[in-house]
Symmetry: C3
Subunit: 208 residues, 3 copies
């Protein structure tokens, strides 16, 4: 699956840039920027592999992840003043990355004979956890908990992937359809600024 590997690397690249940008804004030194880029890009897959006991874990088994991340950090440093206008391109890369991370993580879970629901969680861990670690290390409340349709997009795409699997659809079609579901939901959500419902303060204060 050469195309998927390429997209995996592109997703890693995009995630590393997003981590590097956050760290630079926080005025971390060079080394701090690299660490944050690193955990953002491979943290989700690392967490998944540790939890399902898949050794060697992602970036240990394939040195290309490290190269990709270092390249992304240099790239971010050089073009930091030009990345702002590229926001749409970045969003596209990021969204494609998320969809691939979700589906690869889910499929890896199935390959390890996990219950489909656990595999679904693993897909989401792969896509989401890098950002969570990034936010914890830079002392932000993880963005995903507050106003991101992000996880719901991953969940929906993952469910579609599982259902198409049960329907024995050809696996290329299964992958592409599910990826498109994730990309579509996230794009529409961001464009229309949808958010998941939350228990509002008013509703909740009655309870507390």
């Amino acid at each position: 699956m050469d195309i998927i590997y390429s997209i995996d690397i592109i997703g890693t690249f995009a995630f590393a840039i997003s981590g590097a940008l956050v760290a630079m804004k926080k005025e971390f030194d060079v080394f701090g920027v690299i660490i944050i880029a690193f955990v953002t890009a491979v943290g989700g897959g690392m967490m998944r592999d540790v939890l399902i006991n898949a050794h060697p874990i992602n970036w240990i088994g394939d040195i290309n992840y490290i190269w990709t991340i270092l390249t992304a950090v240099v790239f971010t440093f050089l073009f930091r003043s030009k990345i702002a206008p590229l926001r749409r391109t970045m969003f596209l890369f990021d969204t494609i990355g998320i969809s691939v991370f979700t589906l690869l993580g889910l499929q890896k879970g199935l390959n390890y004979d996990l219950h489909p629901f656990v595999a679904l969680v693993m897909g989401m861990v792969s896509a989401v956890f890098g950002g969570v670690i990034r936010d914890v290390l830079t002392r932000k409340v993880p963005l995903i908990f507050k106003k991101e349709i992000y996880a719901s997009a991953c969940l929906s795409g993952g469910v579609v992937y599982l259902l198409l699997g049960y329907a024995e659809v050809h696996e290329d079609l299964q992958f592409i359809t599910s990826a498109l579901v994730i990309i579509l939901i996230r794009t529409v959500a961001v464009v229309k600024e949808y958010e998941l419902p939350k228990i509002t303060k008013d509703l909740f204060t009655k309870a507390s």
Copy 2:
């Protein structure tokens, strides 16, 4: 040990509710609430299993954890305005859960041939770490570091468990006695508002 499994599930349920409540107060969206409930409920056991290499780890090997947590989140959402008066019931569930988590974690450590002290630490990790992860993700200083007799209760119960084990007491009695020790210490401590001693600012400022 069917009763213990039931109590394990009840403890998971209680921990998930405590996590969901914290996340709702922070106005997390639905997905954030589920994640926080999840890590609070299974984070300790997950950490233990990863550290002692016990795969499949708790919630991967038994899908019931996921169902329990999802049920707890729905329950918390529906009855959030009624959980406040239930505070005592919640405290009871929570305390029972802690005692079971501690002893199951400790016993699992012994089963894996760990040094009794390391097994003791594993019991405490099982009981305590879910709350620590919850607090880190919601950006609070982990409660347990500041004013909780919580960990001391677990430690005392764990030590009793080990000693009764050496004394070759029947294992049901061993389990129940140790659990009661934990429940008693924590209940008395909360009722009487005991805290562990800390090095006060005054004492310490001399040093710094």
Copy 3:
């Protein structure tokens, strides 16, 4: 390598003290102080061992770590008013510990047949991650991201270690030389207050 084991224990002791001091300043209770001392001292090696699947992990396989840490906590409590004047001694222990942690972690990575670059990362994880976990749990932005030449010293020493390894230098000489590189860089950096360059706010605001 008995000397190296001794230095490993001394490093663990120094790291535990540094963790205990931070936790005491934050007015954690006794148990909180122990936890922070513990994760500071063994967190890096624990992370490394989990990632490379080296079980039993450091403090599970060798009970001496727990004893060392408990001793360090008692020591810190007793002599907290006298540790300030000992700052230089502490810095020395800490720096020796870092150098040993880096090189032992790196060598362990090589023993596990990791790519040399991944092994280098593992050396740094071993030396650095305990402090990162300490800072996350005590709600500080990890120091290392902001103004520590710390990681660069580890990296430089690690590279020297790898190069001397390729040059087939005798392994005692290889170890000592690399350790001295780390100790020297860090000492000079702290004395002269070097910092790694960072992307300044001015430079960056153009981009954001």
